[in-house]
Amino acid sequence: MSLTSLLLEEKKAMLHVQEAKKKAQEILQKARREAEKIVGGSAEEEKIKEVLREYEEELKAEAEKILNQYRNKVEEIKSISEDLIEDASNLIVREVLHREL
């Protein structure tokens, strides 16, 4: 009697394991389908465009910074004193008059 009930219990336990195996297969199949969907995703072109759009915005901001640096240099050049222009023009006059003819 007790041996029979043990065998029955053993069978139930095996079914429990079988059930788990079946569930595991389902999990793997679902993952496989999802992975295929990810790899062959049709949204990829859109993703590329989006990434490039974002990168372009970053670059434009960087370009503006570069241009600002040059604009500062231009301002610095424009603020050069009249004295230096005077010195430079004196050099030119001297050279025109005195450089070996």
């Binding site: 595991a24 610095e76 050049i77 023009s89």
Partner: protein
């Protein structure tokens, strides 16, 4: 077998079965996660491989243009200032006969002397001296100092700021020592020196 012993065996059977089932499910979950991770990594790599060349092109286009535009702005600003110095020099040269007549006369005499030396060395006996109306009389007087040389001078009025242009009769040999001629021929040589005076304190590159 006592009923307690049977129960103990049943419990053991179930403990092992549950353990095995849990392990199977746990491994399946891990494997599934690995599959998804691998798929995501593949997509990322593919995306990177496809995007990278376009990123490089974009970078070169946008930043390259900014650098080029910036450099152009700086060069234009530099040139503008250099031109301003040359314009100022030209104004000074225009008024030199009034502001410093002695220096101007020395220049005029030196210009004529050099022209005569060079052209008479090549055997010219007749020279035409071009100068502005104001300087012609002075130059005629100066020419008299070359009486030791057998040269015949002809003086012609020309639209010059100052200085002289001396030529042989058929105009094949010309010695241009006008103020504007000298300024124009010296300009390329002087640009760097002028720039170094103007921009010694400005890093423009």
């Amino acid at each position: 077998m006592s009923s307690e012993a049977v129960q103990a065996l049943k419990d053991e059977i179930w403990r092992r079965a549950r353990e095995k089932a849990d392990k199977i499910l746990e491994e399946a979950e891990k494997e599934a996660e690995k599959m998804l991770e691998e798929a995501r990594r593949k997509v990322e790599e593919d995306l990177k491989r496809r995007i990278e060349p376009e990123r490089i092109v974009l970078r070169r286009r946008i930043l390259g243009k900014a650098i080029m535009d910036g450099r152009r702005m700086v060069i234009l600003a530099r040139n503008e200032l250099i031109e301003k110095a040359f314009e100022k020099a030209l104004e000074k040269l225009k008024t030199l006969p009034q502001s410093n007549p002695k220096e101007y006369e020395e220049f005029l005499a030196k210009s004529l002397r050099k022209a005569v030396e060079l052209l008479s060395e090549s055997g010219e006996k007749e020279l035409t001296v071009y100068a502005n109306e104001r300087d012609l009389k002075t130059l005629e007087e100066m020419a008299k100092t070359f009486s030791s040389r057998p040269i015949k001078f002809r003086f012609e009025k020309a639209d010059l700021l100052g200085g002289v242009v001396v030529a042989d009769p058929d105009g094949r040999k010309v010695f241009n020592n006008s103020l504007e001629g000298r300024l124009s021929s010296l300009k390329p040589l002087l640009r760097e020196r002028v720039a170094s005076i103007l921009f010694k304190e400005v890093k423009t590159r």
